[in-house]
């Protein structure tokens, strides 16, 4: 990049203070629609039900996005999953993010609900942040019935159930044969180690 000091300015601009910043505010408003899969999922949330979706022969996705990324197919089959699950990973947030009303420190976690093949992300409360751990069993805490809306915020947070930890909890995806999170025999995942869910090929287990 050229050194700005070496640029020869025209006489009219010499000695003039350079424009160091320009304010050009831009705002675009969108009327976002959830789509079919999310609509069905969020309707369930308003009834305090967590309903995953799957394609024939596929995994149970919660929350559903409308397509099974392994099969590349729509997910028309609805499967209600449990409101309890296992923490598969978490982080302790010590920063006050813009717009956040959370009191720090707080815990964000990936929670694998019983019966689901995909973790949901949510808050863990009702336990000190430094006591949250992978394998901990947690349950959904809902808003009051009259405040239920089609949003994930209708679940206020998850809290410990007091059950024994599931120390064998697997990171979802690990059993795809990817070796994600675990390199089989210390070997990096290769194409041969990845199972093709459509053809069944590959994926040494």
């Amino acid at each position: 990049m050229a050194d700005a000091r070496q640029i020869t300015l025209p006489a009219s601009l010499r000695g003039v203070e350079p424009v160091r910043s320009v304010r050009t505010p831009a705002q675009l408003d969108y009327e976002f629609t959830a789509g079919d899969a999310n609509t069905r999922f969020l309707r369930g949330i308003t009834q305090k039900r967590i309903i995953g979706q799957k394609a024939p022969g596929g995994r149970v996705y919660v929350p559903p996005r409308g397509a099974d990324p392994e099969l590349g197919q729509p997910t028309p089959i609805e499967v209600e999953v449990a409101q309890v699950g296992t923490v598969t990973s978490f982080c302790v947030v010590n920063l006050q993010f813009y717009g956040s009303v959370m009191e720090i420190p707080y815990v964000s976690a990936l929670i694998l609900l019983d019966g689901a093949d995909l973790s949901v992300m949510h808050l863990i409360q009702e336990i000190p942040a430094d006591q949250v751990r992978i394998g901990m069993r947690v349950e959904a805490v809902w808003r009051d019935d009259e405040d239920l809306e089609p949003t994930m915020e209708s679940i206020k947070w998850f809290r410990p159930t007091g059950e024994p930890d599931d120390v064998d909890v697997r990171i979802p995806g690990e059993d795809h044969g990817t070796g994600l999170g675990s390199w089989p025999g210390g070997v990096a995942p290769t194409e041969a180690l990845i199972r093709n869910p459509r053809t069944g090929e590959g994926g040494e287990r």
Partner: protein, 352 residues
């Protein structure tokens, strides 16, 4: 140059609003249909490339979500362009030229309905001197149309003829969003929207998706009886500032047409991506098209103009006419940016 052909093309019905589906849900039928037509799955595809932009639906990394509809597992070779799918097709064509793969899936999609499209499109302008003025896309096109009229290169009657012909042809296109049969006089009787453009001079705002499968050489011949071979493809861009350009001509289209070899043979059919009637006249001249060429038999972008998709559809429409035997040689064109800033030209031909 390696022989590469369009062997399959599918699109969703073009609509003003697709509110009940998210982007991947809207897109999936087009992908599945394009693959199904040639009895293929994603496992038969060597490279996948898509065209879309997050600005339209206001969804960050929208193309990553829509990739779920392909089934990208185990991880696939994939790329994305923040442009019309026609440019994704160009990238796939280059990849096929290298010779390591024999097949490619290309798609484009857009849900423009969640936002205010003419305002959203201002975000592609220079952010310091033009963006803050929020010049909407129709007004920009009207500047160009005015230049054309003032230069004596076209008349409002000619604009209206393009408008009427396109919507009449669209009556035969089951995927068209806008199709009607009205006279030129009737169009000219409309009030101006942004003078000198009337509403009928403008493309509708459209939600939709399209997909194409490309294949090389014998793979293409084994899949379809009459592949639509890509004989030439090129794209060129002009400066972002309108003041630097002669808006009454499309120099980028002219050069792309020359490089793609448009004039090397008769052109039976041309599908031009002209979102405004005035732009079709500019493009036809730049491409050197004469009376022997049928222009936009599908109704063109004036009958449906899904952003990031309508250019790819032009290629698909020409390919379909070649594969069906209705045409032997055709030209497809795609545009991007304000006032035909960037243009892609693709020459397609059947095998005799």
């Amino acid at each position: 140059m390696r022989d590469v052909a369009v062997i399959s093309f599918a699109q969703t019905p073009m609509r003003r609003r697709v509110e009940e589906l998210n982007e991947v849900e809207m897109l999936m039928p087009a992908i599945h249909d394009a693959l199904r037509q040639v009895d293929m799955t994603i496992d038969d595809i060597g490279f996948t490339c898509s065209g879309s932009t997050d600005y339209l639906a206001g969804t960050a990394f929208s193309f990553v979500s829509t990739l779920d509809g392909v089934g990208p597992w185990p991880p696939i070779q994939e790329s994305h362009v923040e442009m019309d799918g026609a440019w994704a097709l160009y990238e796939a064509w280059v990849k096929l030229q290298i010779g390591e793969i024999d097949t490619a899936l290309v798609y484009g999609y857009a849900k423009s309905s969640p936002g205010d499209l003419p305002m959203v499109l201002t975000r592609q302008l220079d952010p310091i001197t033009m963006g803050p003025l929020w010049p909407d896309s129709v007004s920009m096109a009207a500047l160009q149309a005015r230049s054309l009229l003032d230069a004596g290169k076209a008349t409002e009657e000619q604009f209206a003829e393009v408008a009427a012909r396109s919507r009449r042809d669209a009556l035969d296109n089951p995927n068209a969003q806008l199709a009607w049969d009205r006279s030129v006089a009737d169009v000219l009787a409309e009030d101006y929207l942004v003078a000198p453009l009337r509403r009928s001079d403008c493309a509708p705002i459209t939600d939709g998706a399209a997909a194409i499968v490309l294949a090389a050489g014998d793979v293409a011949r084994s899949k379809v009886t009459r592949p639509a071979w890509i004989r030439g493809i090129d794209h060129r861009v002009e400066p972002i500032h309108l003041g630097l350009r002669d808006l009454t001509v499309s120099e980028s289209t002219r050069i792309a047409a020359e490089k793609a070899g448009v004039a090397d043979g008769p052109v039976d059919v041309a599908e031009l991506h002209a979102p405004f009637t005035s732009q079709e006249l500019i493009l036809a001249e730049a491409l050197g098209l004469g009376a022997e060429t049928t222009i936009n038999p599908s109704g063109g972008a004036l009958s449906a103009n899904a952003m990031m998709t309508a250019g790819l559809i032009r290629i698909g429409e020409v390919a379909n006419r070649i594969s069906s035997g209705d045409a032997n040689r055709g030209v497809a064109h795609a545009t991007s940016g304000p006032c035909l800033q960037q243009n892609l030209v693709c020459v397609l031909e059947g095998e005799s």
